[in-house]
């Protein structure tokens, strides 16, 4: 972050700032309007359009990315707040000729219909299994001091920040359960 972001505002003129991100393993140097969300930086500036803009208010989860190992709503964070961060989008998880196991499981179990929420669902799903493995409890974990288990109830609770208007939820749970089982 340099002195570029210190020019006066309120004329509502854009204020530009530089940021360097590592996106899907590649270093990317950007000069952005300070207002640019991480989602818009990926979609509009890096042309990584896999991450979707649904509500743009953190309610739907379509924009979910994995940033420094954690899933977040990319619409509710500024790109310039992520200097040096490692960012994984759906494009970085897998490609059509080399699917991530979660992508393959979504295909196998019909974990989508229209597909709009799917990149966010898959990024969230991958991170959820890591969170359970790391022992992070959830609202439905009965014993706070015991290691959480991968159950349907745990998956449903932890995926509540990803909305699917087509209602593919039960197939998403099946896809995630299969990936979790294959891993165990």
């Amino acid at each position: 972050m340099g002195a570029t972001a210190t020019a006066a505002a309120r004329t509502n003129e854009p204020v530009l700032a530089r940021v360097t991100l590592t996106v899907n393993g590649q270093r990317r140097d950007l000069e952005l309007d300070t207002r640019t969300s991480l989602l818009d930086a990926a979609r509009e500036h890096l042309h990584l359009t896999g991450s979707k803009k649904g509500c743009d208010h953190g309610q739907c989860g379509a924009c979910t990315m994995i940033v420094d190992g954690r899933r977040i709503n990319a619409c509710l964070t500024l790109a310039i707040m992520h200097q040096g961060a490692e960012i994984t989008t759906i494009e970085g998880l897998g490609q059509p000729d080399q699917l991530h196991p979660m992508q393959a499981a979504f295909v196998k179990h019909d974990g989508y219909q229209c597909g709009y929420c799917t990149p966010g669902q898959i990024c969230s799903g991958v991170a959820v299994l890591e969170e359970i493995k790391a022992g992070i409890p959830s609202h439905v974990t009965a014993d706070l001091e015991a290691a959480p288990q991968i159950t349907e109830a745990e998956i449903r609770e932890r995926m509540s920040g990803n909305i699917c208007r087509c209602g593919a939820y039960s197939n998403i749970v099946e896809a995630m359960t299969e990936v979790a089982g294959a891993r165990a």
């Binding site: 953190g58 509710l76 969230s124 991170a127 969170e131 959830s138 974990t141 920040g161």
Partner: protein, 316 residues
Amino acid sequence: MKSFTYERPSTPAEAAAAVGRTPEAKFIAGGTNLLDLMKLQIETPRHLVDVNGLGLDAVEPTDEGGLRIGALVRNTDLAAHPRVRKDYGVLARALLAGASGQLRNKATTAGNLLQRTRCPYFYDTAQACNKRQPGSGCSALDGVSRQLAVIGGSETCIATHPGDMAVAMRVLDATVETVDGQGATRNIPIAEFHRLPGDDPSRDTNLKPGELITAVTLPKPVAGTHIYRKVRDRASYAYALVSVAAILGKDGSGHVAFGGVAPKPWRVEAAEADLPKGAKAVTDHVFADAKPTHENAYKLKLAERTLGAALNQARA
């Protein structure tokens, strides 16, 4: 969104000084509430001071046997912390009942305390709202008030504090630590941190301009069953209609605070002696001064029954 300038200082005092000297400046940490409000132009800061680099992200034991939680500790990390899970279960449960996994990964301890109301009239810029635009009136008083406050409100505002975490911190008697632009620190008991609207609903807390939260301290653990019960319109990812944060013994004695009912976490310590008599004795006392609307009077019965369920849980 209105344009803004941006800086990333390296010490808490520098950050506080930066917000103090810059007109219309705000701190940004997780950003999950502030950016939402900026997109709607409910918040229009000219300058953002990014506090994420200040290193306030440790959870440490205190000499008194309690816990000191850095302002930037993420909600996920706090809920997963072994000491919190073992000794402050009501806090872990409250955190896990709030928001979504993605939001908890970003949202911070200090930011959660400072989140703004979700009153629909605060969010709708076409409506009158004394909190958003002082002096414009309150559309909620005669409007859709099902979610809004039954106690602690005023003729100018009936917005609720929307959070879960602060309700648990209230029953735990937490203390908020701050620093100002001159480097002066102070400790604010959680009971005095949030303020009631009175005739100035625009101020949610008693923080001074530029004052930065650096930590929240919990006293040594209180024995008993730690319970956070939240009643909401969906099973997950929804704000509380009513919530109960309680630490209870098998005989029902203990401590209780209520969420979703007031502009701040609502606790009446004098009512707690009645806990062994059952829920109604307590809620009759806690909500004696309630002024519900026709749409939210259900919250009084719901608070009684939710506390009743918590008492049953503690006796089981």
